[in-house]
Each structure stands twice: as structure tokens, then as C-alpha cells.
Amino acid sequence: MKIDSGDTAWVLASAALVMLMTPALGFFYGGLVRRKNVLSTIMHSFFILCLISVQWVLWGYSLAFGPDKFHLIGGLEWVGLNNVGFTPNADYAPTIPHQAYMLFQMMFAVITPALISGAFAERQRFKAFVLFSLLWATFVYDPIAHWVWGAGGWLHQLGALDFAGGTVVHISSGVSALVAALVLGRRLGFGKEKVEPHDATMTVLGACLLWFGWFGFNAGSAVAAGGLATSAFVVTNTATAMAALTWMTVSWWHKRQPSVLGAAAGAVAGLVAITPASGYVNVMGSIVIGFGAGVVCYAAIQLRERIHVDDALDVWAVHGIGGTWGALATGLFATVAINSGAANGLFYGNPKQVLVQLAAIGAAWGWAAVGTFAILKFVNLFVPLRVQEEEELLGLDISQHGEPAYAL
């Protein structure tokens, strides 16, 4: 196999783009919390970038992408990047060094547990967060990544389509966020006092950087610099814009004013929803997916508020529901005219693809929910998940890290 310099350059650049998304997420979340918790919220993302970067090269990549065991998990043959060198791997990316593919996938593994951190913002003990993140990446993310993307994974063999992580990244993190919010319980004063975002500008900046980085996430998932990457780039931008317009319009109708934070959240919902479909749908499909994301994710937030679940930064509504819609929509709008190596969806004469997508959605929801619940209960045996009341009132920046965000 011959290494293609153009493909390699694109995948390495995409890995760097996806890397930027994790600190961008920190800013997106950081602006939404109160000023006493902004530093701890940003720290969640920054810390996970460091933690999973090491976990991935030691054992994470091997579990997710290593030689298949029973269609469920990768073996340990690639632990410590043993046998993962510069020769391309034909199963994953035949024109780039295997390590470049490993690096690209690392950035996906990094951002996924960081997404969950929005659910337990402003109340989780940092030590519990450290243990939870490491265990979650190992026992929830790595197996699901293998099922969907690993050579021999059972959902991969079933024909599930997930171009860039609708099930692997967004359903897994969104559902886990819901479970975490339920297990940890509500923040003090939740529902009694209004919790306002402390810096909306930071959140909008974070959303813009996420949008920028997402081009690497989706277009990079073509693992080649060519037509498919271009198509993924175009539909990603289109769906994102459409979702932002839709969310803003829905919130305008509902709250009587066009919300800036709503437009930013809508953009993220669109990015999430187009992720699994980005390598399979045409531009018209991406408009429908963006429109649907703006509507269903907004509705999910209203439902979450009505049932008084304190998923602090709406990870479930945006990533869990947005990812579910995107995975389902892939089964509706996928077309081999875009990706000849994939399958048609319902609207192009293949209703079976919807059933396959539903199987993948159900598997990701189930494993993420059960795994997250078990891990949280296990961690709680050794370290209390929540900070004490007085620590929560003081704020996590001071109580967990001993540093204020703003010395003004």
C-alpha cells in the first residue's frame, strides 16, 4: 500500500481541527455556567484532552480498533501502539500511515467524555470526574467504537451507517449525560433560583470554534482528500446553518425573541445531527436534517425542563436526541450517489436501512445507559460523586481547584 501525501496531510490537519473542538467545548460550556464554576468547567475539557490522549495510545485504540474479539471488542495486540506504525492499515485507511488514523480517532475519543461533563457541571467532585472519565472511555466508548467502526464489529457487519460518530460519539455521550444527571441529582436551588449563563459571548465563541473544528470531524472522516470529504464539508456547513436558523425561529416563536444562545445551540445541534449522515447524504438531505435537528432538540429541552432533570448544559437534548435524529435520518436520506460504498436509505428505496439504524441507536442507548450507571455507582464506592453543599455554594473553581476564574 502506497501512502498518499495529500490524504495524509488532510487527515493530520483534520486531527488538529478536531483537537481544537475539545477546548472549544470548554468555552461553550464555560460561558453557560455561573462565574464561580467557569474554570472548573473548562478544566473538565482540558483535563480530558490530556487524560484520553494517554489512555488512547496505551490501550484505548487497541480496544476500539484492534483485532476483533467476538465482534464485541478489539484485542490487546495493539496496546502501547504495538504494531501500529507508519504502514497503512487496509481495513481503516489504506492511503495514510496507520498512526495518522490512530491520531485522528484519538481526538474523537477525547471529545466524547468531555461532552458528558456538561450534564454534571457545577456539582461534580473533580476526583470522581477523573475516575469516571477513565472508566467510561474504557468500558463505554471503546466498545461502542469497536461495534460501529472496528473491523469485525457487530454493528459494522450489520451495515449500520455512522460516518463520523452519531452513535459512537453523540448518542453515547448524550445518553450517559442523562444518566449522570439523574444519578448526581439536581444542583442546589435548581428550579427555585434562575441560573443565568455568566458569559454568553464565550459560549457563542465556543460554538463558532466547534463549527470550525467540526469540518475536520466530518470531512476528515473520509480519511482521504477528495470528493467525499468535499461533500461531507458542504453538508456539514449546510445542516449546521439550517439548524441554527430553525432553532432561532422556533425559540423566537416560543419566547417571542430571537435568542443568540439559541442560535448557537441550534448550530451545535445541527453539527451533531449531520455527523452520522455527513458521508452519505446530499445537500437537500442535509437541509432536512438541519431543520429536524432545530425542532427536535429544542423540543427535547422543553421536555427536560418539564420533567425537572438537571442536565445542566443540555447534553442529552442536543447530543443524545440530536445524535439519535441524525442516525435515524441517515437511514432515511443516505444515497449511494454520494457514497457508492455505503447503502441507500428509505427515500432512495431501501427501507431496511432504517431498521439497521434503529438497531444501532438502541444498542448505543442501552450500553451507554447501563455502563454509565454502573460506573457512577462503582466510583461512588470510593469517592463521593458530588461536592459537599458548602463547596457547591462556594463554587467549584475555589473548592476544587483553589483558583478563581476572574481576579477582577
Binding site: 417571542r256 436520506f333 481576579a407 477582577l408
Partner: protein, 45 residues
């Protein structure tokens, strides 16, 4: 025109029509509440 295109056009039309009928400003505007500046916090190096 295929079904996907038809749904996409309808989606765009819904959003565009929404802008035509939505209010240009809120009828009642609450006064802004300006929070007090917090005490300076010293940070040791």
C-alpha cells in the same frame, strides 16, 4: 424533483414564513438588573 428535495423546500419555506409572522420586538421589556461587582480576590502565585 425527489422526495428529499420536496421536504427540504418545505422546511426552508416554514422557516422563512416564520420570520414574516414573528414579532419584531417584545411587547413588554423588563428592566435589566445589574449585579454588584464582587470583591477583588487575591491570587497567590
Amino acid at each position: 424533483m425527489d422526495a428529499t428535495t420536496v421536504i427540504a423546500v418545505i422546511s426552508c419555506a416554514i422557516v422563512l414564513c416564520g420570520w414574516l409572522v414573528l414579532p419584531s420586538s417584545k411587547t413588554t421589556v423588563k428592566p435589566l438588573v445589574v449585579s454588584e461587582e464582587p470583591e477583588p480576590v487575591s491570587v497567590s502565585a
